[in-house]
């Protein structure tokens, strides 16, 4: 039971991040590496605010805003300075590393064990015991999902989807596709930093290296979710991202539980990733043949 709870906790936290990665990778077709640094950015903002005695719930909007700024930076570099998408993400990611260290006052590791956090202050803390954490995370995740569903239905949301699919449509509509891209990056990184903020309070410490490889987890979640469950018409894409994230974390948990050699972990993660991509490519090819 405890293992399932931990998979759900981790899965839901990374869902928030995966929703952001979904916007950049799937909707905008923008490989955004800012994620590896905007995740710890949210955590750094969170740890510093909590240390300063500020209400932990306020760290959520603050981290969201900080992540938005990081996304804005990547967007501006890409759109205004005409730097390639991959490179603009790398540039922001690299610079953010120093920024994160500065935010944390030069400390690479900042524990917040002795402070209150969103979980200890939760209204269900006494009643639900071990289920408290997963419920709080679930609620935050669900709010993000619904707000995103709503946003994608607005005019701005439609434009966002249009840029990824066929950007000439946007130009034809006399809209600036650069602004649309920047908007997408801002929302995406805001979500990623929010995930970092929740993660920091879940593990109760900030660590500068906690962002390394985050983009891989985000991509894996999105790909598992959208490729395996995205085809089902009764499931919203955002819902499939949630499922993908939980499945990914469950796979890692099973790998650990089975006692697979630690040195093989990355190999297995990569292989799992590849298998899903290959299967979904075959499926796609099959579907195209059927149509023909």
């Amino acid at each position: 039971m405890a293992l399932i709870l931990s998979v759900l906790e981790q899965g839901f936290i990374y869902t928030i991040l995966a929703l952001g990665v979904y916007i950049t990778y799937k909707i905008l077709d923008f490989p955004d590496l800012t994620v590896d640094s905007s995740f710890p950015l949210g955590a750094a903002v969170c740890a510093v605010m909590i240390k300063a005695g500020i209400n932990p719930y306020l760290t959520l909007p603050a981290a969201f805003a900080a992540g938005g700024i990081a996304g804005l930076a990547t967007g501006m570099i890409h759109v205004k300075f005409k730097v390639r998408d991959l490179l603009s993400g790398i540039i922001t990611m690299t610079m953010l590393y120093s920024v994160n260290l500065h935010i944390a006052g030069g400390q690479a590791n900042m524990p917040i064990f002795s402070s209150e956090n969103i979980f200890t202050l939760s209204p269900f803390a006494d009643k639900l015991g071990e289920y408290n954490k997963v419920l709080v995370i679930f609620i935050i995740m669900l709010i993000c999902k619904f707000l995103m569903d709503l946003y994608l239905k607005t005019k701005s949301g439609y434009l966002l989807r249009a840029v990824g699919d066929n950007d000439t449509v946007v130009t034809v509509l006399a809209k600036d596709k650069g602004i649309v891209k920047i908007t997408g990056l801002v929302i995406a990184n805001a979500l990623v930093a929010l995930a970092g903020c929740v993660m920091c309070q879940d593990q109760r410490f900030f660590e500068i290296s906690m962002g390394t490889g985050t983009i891989v987890i985000g991509l894996a979640s999105v790909i598992i979710g959208t490729n395996v469950f995205g085809k089902l018409s009764f499931i919203k894409t955002t819902t499939s991202v949630i499922i993908g994230s939980v499945i990914y974390k469950a796979c890692v948990a099973v790998a650990i539980w089975l006692g697979l050699a630690a040195i093989d972990m990355k190999l297995i993660t990569g292989a799992l990733f590849l298998v899903i991509l290959v299967i979904s490519n075959f499926r796609k090819a099959g579907a195209e043949n059927d149509q023909a």
Binding site: M1, A2, L3, S6, E9, Q10, Y97, L101, G106, Q107, A108, N109, P111, I112, F113, S114, D202, Q203, R204, F205, E207, I208, S209, M210, G211, T212, G213, T214, I217, K249, V252, A253, I256, W257, G259, A262, I263, M265, K266
Partner: protein
């Protein structure tokens, strides 16, 4: 799936019964006089693959064995390595808690924090290779635990190291230190070096890097500016030790290590740590907790003795000698 699960459970139970019998046989040999009542299962979670940390784990097992907990007899170990990946540290810690092990041994600061958080006081956490347990909020100022945790610190003997460098190089003025900005332990060690260096007539020149790729340039630059280099227990720098040694050799200056392993690999000397000994000390503490002591009330320990290790070959290459008054104390690292 259900069948598979039950099969696995059954075989796990069969295995533990077998090892149980083995345990009794071991006691009959009269090797141990300790009261080791039943079989225990512990988790060992290591943050990254790394020579010093591997030694910690090795020593930890030895320490437990000396106290009567022998792996394969009455002790079952679930060993996991997080590969320096923070997402893994949390999942490993949580999976050990879910397994309901009797104790978690966590190696290095991020792993210790993740285990401490996941255990929520229900399972004792014994940490090792945590430089500053107070700064990591694992221990209070008086050494007692902030929760159900205790362990050992691998704090460097900075003062002893400075004294040793002064003895080896009476005329040296500047000590160079290379460190990684993301390693909390290194940042705090640099502070200590800076505050103590003046007392020995040294000036500290530090150079911060953020990834292994930065080391060749930073090392060459640093070696040109200083009279010697002293290492911390910085994981990134230690992993790239040959690059640093190379740069120092070109500039004809010595590199002092922070633990025995580095001296074996080419540093001239260290007044430092033996991670196997540190692990052993930690293992002994873990045994006390397994026998029922409350981890929270056991103050964290630092290594009880530092020793001087030298590498004569490396000294010779640089035309240096071990000072006469240190010769009796020094052990050749090999």
């Amino acid at each position: 799936m259900k069948k598979l699960l039950s099969l696995m459970l059954a075989s796990a139970m069969a295995l533990s019964m077998l090892t149980g019998c083995g345990g009794k046989a071991g006691e009959a040999d009269g090797e141990t006089d300790m009261q080791v009542s039943e079989n225990v299962k512990i988790g060992i979670a290591q943050f990254a693959p790394h020579g010093s940390l591997d030694n910690c784990v090795e020593g930890f097992k030895q320490g437990l064995a000396e106290a009567g907990y022998v792996e394969g007899k009455n002790l079952e170990i679930d060993f996991q390595n997080a590969q320096a990946d923070m997402a893994n540290t949390n999942q490993i810690a949580q999976s050990m808690v879910a397994e309901n092990v009797d104790l978690i041994c966590a190696v290095a600061t991020p792993m210790a924090q993740a285990a401490f958080n996941a255990a929520e006081g229900k399972i004792p956490v014994i940490y090792t290779a945590v430089t500053d347990p107070v700064a990591a909020e694992l221990a209070n100022e008086d050494g007692s635990g902030t929760g159900n945790a205790t362990g050992t610190s691998d704090k460097l003997a900075v003062e002893a190291q400075l004294e040793m460098i002064r003895a080896f190089q009476p005329d040296a003025k500047k000590i160079g230190i290379l460190y990684t900005t993301s390693e909390a332990n290194s940042v705090s060690a640099i502070e200590e070096y800076k505050s103590l260096a003046g007392g020995y007539g040294f000036e500290i020149v530090d150079s911060g890097i953020s990834q292994p790729a930065d080391i060749p340039m930073a090392a060459a630059d640093l070696a040109a500016k200083v009279d010697c280099i002293s290492n911390l227990t910085d994981n990134t720098v230690v992993s790239s030790l040959p690059v640093l040694l190379d740069a120092a050799n070109k500039a004809n200056i010595p590199v002092y290590g922070s633990e025995i392993e580095q001296v074996k690999n080419g540093c001239v000397a260290t007044e430092g740590l033996d991670y196997i000994a540190l692990g052993k000390q930690t293992g002994a503490m873990a045994a006390r907790v397994l026998q029922g002591e409350d981890a929270k009330t056991i103050p964290y320990e630092t290594i009880s003795e530092y020793s001087l290790y030298i590498n004569s070959a490396a000294l010779q290459t640089l035309g240096m000698n071990c000072p006469d008054d240190l010769k009796d104390k020094a052990t050749e690292a090999e």
